[in-house]
Assembly symmetry: C2
Homo-oligomer: 194 residues x 2
DNA sequence: GTCTATAAGGTGATAGAC
DNA sequence: GTCTATCACCTTATAGAC
């Protein structure tokens, strides 16, 4: 009766280890190609035990990618009803960049098996895509041309270069990463007509 | 003895239809989640017949993505031993952009199931990654700082915004796409120290 | 919390008739 | 070129003992 859900006792270690092992395997081998047997093996338990902690493979994926989506969603929502201005544009873009930097360890999993990720978030998917679209449209500025919208998309893509450096901060610090890529994205947006 | 390999007789239609159906299904449902049964069903043949044309699922994927990789490789190789200059930088970037635009229909498949694609090109993978890295390093210019290399990566990522518009040229023409995104990528590269 | 054992079903691939 | 029939395998998931 000691460590149920709140207490950080031994019981939670297994769940955390499963999470860690899954993230690692999903990132390197991909979601579909990683079987629950492999994850269980790496942790040192059996498949059945794994099911005690996570009731499905999808739930495991949701636990891994979910926090990233939540954070991203918060940034997207931030622009709803917000009046556009050049300064706010940079602020919002910077906030999004921070989210990507923070969750860059989960980045490869999202990139490598987007299909599976999308399937796992099937119910929230409509909202997410919608908000992402509104986010990019907001970035495009007032009365955007098609070129403006394309540039907004390119700016967001440029931020994805975060993943071109490894997850450890050996080469570049998070601050440098933020500064350099925000500059890059801003340079793209500066090509807009407004 | 009429239509063997060269002649465009009826015989080749099935193979082309398989290719088309597979591209469509891979793009929408993903590679791993698309079964050969589904592809065969869509074409109106059986799985076994499919195997007459493509001897494995991987071979089908290779046929779909292969031409894109070949074209991309050619652009990458182009920079080997080529002396860097601002003008050439734009030329090379434009050539890469053209390749992405040309193959944008296969883009989603590569993006969505990168894992499977990488597995299918296991043997050529070392070369491809190596050449891609050299390509980005060349783009970074002479004596690049870490920031320069990051910007080169961001420029390449920005070009990926091609996929944010659909595969049909209804909204934007290929020429406009080229102009706008080349400008965007150039804007990113202009932040470099050289 | 973890185990063994097993269910139920789909997968890629092959053999051989037509 | 296409079919029917089948194989061997692996998967996710569950039941119930310890």
């Amino acid at each position: 009766m000691r460590d149920e859900s709140g207490a950080p006792g031994r019981a939670r270690d297994t769940k955390a280890e499963i999470h860690r092992a899954a993230l690692e395997l999903f990132s390197s081998r991909g979601y579909e190609k990683t079987s629950l047997r492999e994850i269980a093996e790496q942790v040192g338990i059996t498949k059945a035990s794994l099911y005690y902690h996570y009731s499905s493979k999808q739930e495991l994926l949701q636990a891994i990618v979910g926090t990233f989506f939540d954070d991203a969603k918060r940034v997207f929502e931030q622009t709803d009803g917000l009046e556009w201005s050049p300064e706010r544009e940079l602020e919002v873009l910077g906030a999004y960049l921070d989210v990507v930097i923070k969750h860059r360890a989960t980045g490869p999993t999202v990139l490598r098996d987007l299909t599976a990720v999308l399937a796992a978030f099937d119910d929230q998917l409509g909202d997410l895509i919608d908000q992402s679209r509104r986010f990019q449209l907001w970035l495009a500025g007032p009365n955007p041309t098609i070129a403006d919208r394309l540039l907004a998309a390119a700016a967001v893509e440029a931020i994805g270069a975060v993943l071109s450096v490894g997850p450890d901060p050996s080469e570049v610090s998070d601050e440098d990463l933020h500064t350099i890529l925000l500059e890059a994205a801003a340079a793209v947006l500066s090509r807009k007509t407004n």
